[in-house]
């Protein structure tokens, strides 16, 4: 079960970094002529930070360690901390938007507007929590006589 947990957390870490770079490294974000140069700078810093943290978490997760608890916790926290602001930022800070293009038409399901980035955030957070839960469950199995 620990191996499945490690693989699941690795998949979430890699997909979080790859999807974020793929979505932002184009004319909708970093090369958007309407964005101020310093706003673009902050997005690039965020992507470097995310990639760095993901590599760090993968290294912690796959290295040999007598105390793996911190590695699994970090591997779960990297995607959860990165994706969590997608759920509350627009509620906390007026004038922010989840839509890169204000004119973009979004799908509506049962009267609820579906933001693709929030959907990816939700799936990633759930998978990271399942991965971490599997690690905790494997720990309980080891402790039981």
């Amino acid at each position: 079960m620990r191996k499945i947990s490690r693989i699941l957390l690795s998949v979430v870490l890699v997909s979080t970094a790859v999807v974020s770079v793929a979505v932002d490294w184009n004319a909708s974000h970093i090369f958007n002529p309407e964005w101020h140069p310093h706003a673009k700078f902050h997005d690039v810093v965020m992507l470097w930070l995310l990639s760095g943290c993901s590599i760090m978490a993968l290294w912690l997760l796959w290295r040999r360690s007598a105390e793996p608890a911190i590695a699994y916790t970090v591997a779960m926290l990297v995607p959860v901390i990165f994706w969590s602001p997608f759920f509350f930022t627009t509620l906390l800070v007026p004038g922010t938007s989840l839509k890169a293009d204000p004119k973009e038409a979004l799908p509506v399901l049962a009267g609820i507007t579906i933001y693709p980035n929030v959907a990816i955030a939700t799936i990633s957070v759930i998978l990271a929590l399942i991965g971490y839960g599997l690690y905790r469950a494997s720990n309980s199995e080891v402790r039981e006589p």
Partner: protein, 142 residues
């Protein structure tokens, strides 16, 4: 023991600055509340600040919680958080069309270099020094 404590304090300073320097520098009308920034750019600015605060708190917890403070992996990770974050500023500078400052909100330059880069280099040096001091003692013990 004294050197180890100095190392831990320096690491804590690096972790604290990682969470709270961006709030002081970016939570204003030049960044998150800039009328010139698009709503989604402001979103990214805010999300990064939130992530930094959380990582800073985690690093401080790793450094000072009785459950983790003596674990070498905790110390290593607490040191990597500020280094990875502030280190990201340097490769970002090489991406075309981006800038460390917006027109009308220029930063003070020293010797032709934007002032905030000196702060950033300082945070990285403080953290690396803290880690080196901590590890130095670790090696002596073993």
């Amino acid at each position: 023991m004294r050197t180890q404590r100095i190392g831990r304090v320096l690491l804590s300073l690096g972790a604290f600055c990682t969470g709270f320097f961006p709030v002081a520098a970016d939570w204003n009308t030049q960044h998150t509340f800039s009328p010139g920034w698009s709503p989604h750019a402001r979103y990214h600015g805010f999300a990064t600040i939130i992530a930094e605060i959380i990582w800073s708190i985690i690093a401080l917890w790793l450094l000072w919680s009785p459950a983790t403070k003596n674990n070498s992996l905790s110390i290593k990770f607490a040191a990597l958080i500020p280094i990875v974050y502030w280190g990201a500023f340097f490769p970002a500078l090489f991406v075309p069309t981006i800038a460390l400052e917006d027109k009308g909100f220029e930063i003070t330059h020293f010797f032709g270099i934007p002032g905030n880069l000196f702060f950033i280099a300082g945070f990285i040096i403080i953290t690396a020094l803290g880690y080196w001091l901590y590890q130095h003692i670790d090696r002596e013990k073993n």
